[in-house]
């Protein structure tokens, strides 16, 4: 499994493993698009297996590479972020709102501790949800990793200094999530995963004559950007509420001018 600590050849060191993992995910996605299943019988089995295996392998490589590079404070941050994902996800789920909001912690880590940490948070959150709530979350580990990774990259590019650009970043994160998750939804779950609302949307797209992958992608592109924009806003609200000194423990956000300077970081009185 992930995270071998033996002396590894250089092409398998941490940085490379993230690269290899991303590569495997991209090749898998490209492969799924290229050999777009023609016979209806191809849909159920082999394609699903290809999607499942490629994505799982990619996620394992990314996680093992990302986790090995994290400083201890970030390691301590991840379980809390994962918990926040789960708790908020549950609250929203039970509130019956047509939203997910289960990536707040992932986005927050991406912004505070960088793309690698964000990717690890997302993927491991899926593992935890898979272990405790529903195994249906396991195949989506790559999507969750991509959410954290993208959030980190956009943070590095300065998107989180203003609320308006942060909301835009949320839209972009959502687009990535929607595209990456589509093959899993379409091929592994036969477009029946997620909430009833999502399934209804997918059914509508299929009814209008779209193929399964296309319907799933369209659904993702409609629902995810909105959801992730809101996620980003909530993550920013949490960041604003955190005590002074918290962000000083994370070099990524401290040294790279990721966020706008905070007035309350200077103690008055």
């Amino acid at each position: 499994m992930a995270g071998f600590n033996r002396s590894t050849p250089s092409w398998l060191n941490e940085r490379w493993r993230i690269g290899w993992g991303t590569g495997v995910v991209l090749v898998t996605y490209a492969g799924l698009i290229a050999v777009r299943p023609t016979s209806e019988h191809g849909v159920g089995g082999p394609i699903a297996l290809l999607a499942l295996v490629g994505y799982t392998l990619g996620a394992l490589l990314i996680v093992s590479g990302a986790v090995a590079r994290l400083p201890p404070t970030t390691v301590a941050l991840l379980p809390v972020a994962i918990t926040v994902n789960i708790v908020m996800g549950k609250i929203v789920y039970f509130s019956g709102l047509p939203l997910q909001l289960d990536s707040i912690g992932t986005v927050l880590v991406g912004v505070v501790a960088g793309p690698a940490a964000g990717a690890a948070t997302g993927a491991l959150a899926s593992v935890i949800v898979g272990m405790t709530i529903t195994p249906g979350a396991l195949p989506y580990a790559v999507t969750a990793a991509m959410i954290g990774f993208t959030a980190g990259m956009l943070a590095r590019a300065g998107f989180f200094r203003r609320l308006s650009t942060a909301v835009l970043a949320g839209g972009l994160i959502g687009a990535v999530a929607g595209v990456v998750s589509a093959p899993i939804t379409a091929f592994v779950f036969g477009n029946a995963s997620g909430s009833v609302g999502q399934s209804a949307l997918i059914a509508t797209f299929q009814a209008f004559g779209n193929g399964m992958l296309k319907a799933a992608t369209l659904q993702g592109l409609v629902a995810d950007p909105l959801d992730k924009a809101l996620t980003v806003v909530l993550a920013m609200a949490i960041l604003k509420g955190l005590p002074p000194g918290f962000l000083h423990r994370f070099p990524f956000v401290r040294d790279r001018h990721i966020l706008a300077p905070r007035a309350d970081l200077v103690r008055v009185g």
């Binding site: 000194g245 000083h248 423990r249 401290r254 970081l265 200077v266 103690r267």
Partner: protein, 289 residues
Amino acid sequence: MIEVKGFSFTYPTGSRPALSDVDFEVEPRELCAVVGGGGAGKSTLAGVVSGTVPHLTGGTAQGTVRVNGRDLDDTPLSGLVGEVGLVMQNPFNQISGARFSVREEIAFGLENLGVPRDEMAARVDLVLDDLGLTGVRDRSPYELSGGQQQLLAIGSVLVMRPTVMVLDEPTSQLDAAGNALVFEALGTLKEQGVTVLLIEHRMERLAHAADRVLVLDRGAIVAKGTPGEVLADERLEEWGVAPLRYTVAARRAAGRGLWPARKPLPVTLDAAAAGFGETVDHLDRGDWR
């Protein structure tokens, strides 16, 4: 051995120093207590001596801190592992969460150091026994009561056998029995040559256990000496520290001539009983004054 010289520290977000010009030493086999009001800088001092401040918090520091002869400025935190132990105020945060039973949680530090399994098991069981945790060894750390979690936090550090031990209010949630266990363990540590720095609110325990007491007020050391000297100081309340009732009673009694003139004010039950006993004897014999 702890040596702190001219040490000042300001948090990255602080407008005034959390510690200013702090100067003290603690020898091996010595228990030094730190007392002071809320926000006096006690926890910061614990962090400084254990190497987490400013390494993890950031901030600006001046002066030197040496532990066992090593300058902490040039020593990474990993270089102090096993040598300096830190028990934090909140046991919930001391529990790593990496392990699922009390026994494994105590072993966590030893596992990290690569201690062989047999030795580890022996050391863990010894600590469980010393702190009265054997009955809950297989329970989840998160299912323990606050007091038991505090004992677990102490045990998880004790098991690593550090030569310098820093404890930040380790007994706030413990009842009298738990307190006695902890102070017994600290006594044993001292005998073994360990240097102990203890932050504590309960003055009566300190008066017995501490070799020396430091008083911190707004980041500066305002008094240091033996418990008898420091805890009987009349400025204690101004510094935000609760005086013992024995001392208060003797001081007021002395005002009315009811405390033996040549005796220092008491900080322990024994000293108070001896002093007031003398008063009562004299009163009975009618040769007072």
